[in-house]
């Protein structure tokens, strides 16, 4: 056989594949259609946040992004520690476990990225060559109330899946359009792991929704996109053309709501050792502009990330220079 185009040859879909596919297509469950909450207005509002996610994905950053949906049942919140996270990486290759707990004294007041309904920050921890098979995580509010728990791989919550990639590589696949479901506090998460050559690195992006802050609520409503025009489509749905808020307004909003988020990490190694690890943030946003294939220009904002390990062995930096980020060995965190 001497065929350079073997991958482009016509093929036959095997019966087993076709039958199973047709079987599931013939028995698709009845599900509700998309609601107005995912219409164009919301799309515009969420534009920047989604792009941050896209950025993180393209960067293959080891990231866990928690989106905290709007709390419809507002509670009083402590300014000291409104938000914390515990991560337990378990099922190590050697059978041990690696519980990771974020101490309360880590203030993540920097490195805030912005979106119309959420704010986010990032941090990471290094497990140094351990082979992690799964990650268990939970996070809770200032009342030590666990608001979400999950175990990866193969965990699902609010449409988010955690899937193993390789034995030491996890990915939480985000919804492409994370839903903001009223009454649900969290609506998305995202994890990617750098397949580092010499260590494993996890990075987290946390997105927090405002809770019981009338001043911020007002800012939020001020960010409502202005509806320029509304069209009723043939199918009865409504399409809106809107003017989204400016990036500056969004940045201001998110910087305001992010100021008292608290995150800390302690790494427990399988041999019993415990280490606290911290990662810093660069507290600004970077705007990246580029030209699309069709010649139009587009841009997005993404958080500047600078990470380091207080244990002193590593201080490295991620410096993303292009929106379609390619992970570069020389720029790893």
């Amino acid at each position: 056989m001497n065929n350079p185009n073997i991958f482009q040859k016509e093929i036959i879909i095997p019966d087993i594949v076709r039958t199973k596919a047709e079987d599931v297509l013939a028995n698709l469950p009845d599900l509700p259609a998309a609601t107005r909450s995912s219409d164009e207005t919301k799309r515009k509002k969420k534009r920047m946040l989604i792009r941050v996610v896209a950025f993180a994905s393209a960067a293959a950053a080891a990231a866990l992004i928690f989106f905290v949906a709007r709390n419809q049942f507002a509670r009083k919140k402590s300014k000291a520690n409104p938000f914390a996270i515990t991560v337990n990486a378990q099922e190590m290759e050697d059978g041990g476990s690696l519980p990771l707990t974020y101490p309360n004294d880590f203030l993540a007041e920097k490195g805030i990225s912005c979106g119309p309904e959420t704010c986010e920050f990032s941090l990471g921890f290094d497990v140094q060559g351990e082979d992690v098979k799964s990650v268990e995580y939970s996070f809770y509010n200032s009342f030590a109330e666990v608001q979400h728990k999950g175990i990866g791989p193969s965990d699902n919550f609010h449409g988010i899946e955690i899937k193993p990639y390789y034995a030491d590589y996890f990915e939480v696949i985000p919804d492409y359009n994370p839903r903001n479901v009223p009454g649900q506090r969290y609506y998305g998460s995202y994890t990617i792991n750098y397949p580092f050559t010499d260590k494993k690195f996890f990075e987290f992006f946390l997105v927090k929704e405002i809770i019981d802050r009338p001043d911020l609520e007002q800012m939020y409503y001020d960010l409502e996109p202005e509806v320029l025009n509304e069209t009723i489509m043939p199918d009865g749905s409504i399409r809106q053309e809107v003017m989204p808020p400016s990036d500056e307004e969004i940045v201001e909003y998110y910087n305001a709501i992010f100021e008292d988020v608290v995150v800390t990490i302690t790494v427990h190694f399988s041999d019993g050792a415990v280490e606290t690890r911290y990662v810093g943030f660069r507290g600004d946003m970077i705007e990246q502009r580029w030209t699309l294939d069709d010649g139009t220009e587009d841009s997005w904002l993404y958080p500047g990330i600078e990470c380091f390990f207080l244990t002193g062995e590593e201080v490295k930096k991620i410096d993303f220079e292009h929106p379609v980020i390619q992970y570069e060995e020389t720029k790893k965190c």
Partner: protein, 169 residues
């Protein structure tokens, strides 16, 4: 025109039009098969991965932001489901004894034979490149690799196939 048609189908699928969704899947079936085969090399697992992916997509299509990215989105989900299956397979197999199965399925012998010459890491990028015509930057994003890694793997994959089949461009 075809793109517009696809976007219209995606739009309808998001309103839970099952026929539109089924049509979308059927249009992508060949590519889905080739991509999942490149990872799993086994028609039975491929069938499972595709089935899971169809369900995942149906459940989440309302969250797809832009209709024009349906195909990329579908393949991304498929790739992840394939890796989940691959990972399960490895989890329950003694890795020291595990060998990549060479498919004995009766279908597409030529394609499978070519793929069997390649390691999984080359198969996936080669398939995305040659089957889907994705750019290296798009493959990098889909597979979670750097662009330079994709380029290297494409080059290496070509070299390996060229060794068996002569020129491969």
């Amino acid at each position: 025109m075809k793109n517009k048609e696809t976007e219209q189908l995606v739009y309808l699928a998001k309103t839970r039009d099952k026929d539109a969704f089924a049509e979308l899947i059927r249009r992508n079936m060949t590519q889905m098969y080739k991509v999942s085969l490149s990872i799993l090399m086994n028609d039975e697992d491929v069938a499972d991965a595709i089935q899971d992916s169809i369900l995942n997509c149906w459940e989440k299509i309302s969250t797809l932001r832009e209709e024009k990215y349906f195909s990329t989105w579908l393949i991304r989900i498929l790739i992840n489901n394939c890796y989940a299956i691959l990972n399960d397979r490895k989890r329950y197999t003694d890795l020291s004894e595990w060998e990549e199965p060479v498919s004995e399925d009766e279908y597409n012998i030529e394609l499978k034979e070519a793929m069997s010459k390649l390691d999984e890491k080359y198969r996936l990028v080669m398939t995305l490149y040659y089957v889907y015509d994705y750019k290296t930057s798009e493959i990098a994003e889909l597979a979670g690799l750097s662009k330079s890694t994709v380029t290297t793997r494409l080059q290496r994959g070509r070299e390996i196939l060229a060794k068996y089949y002569g020129d491969f461009r």
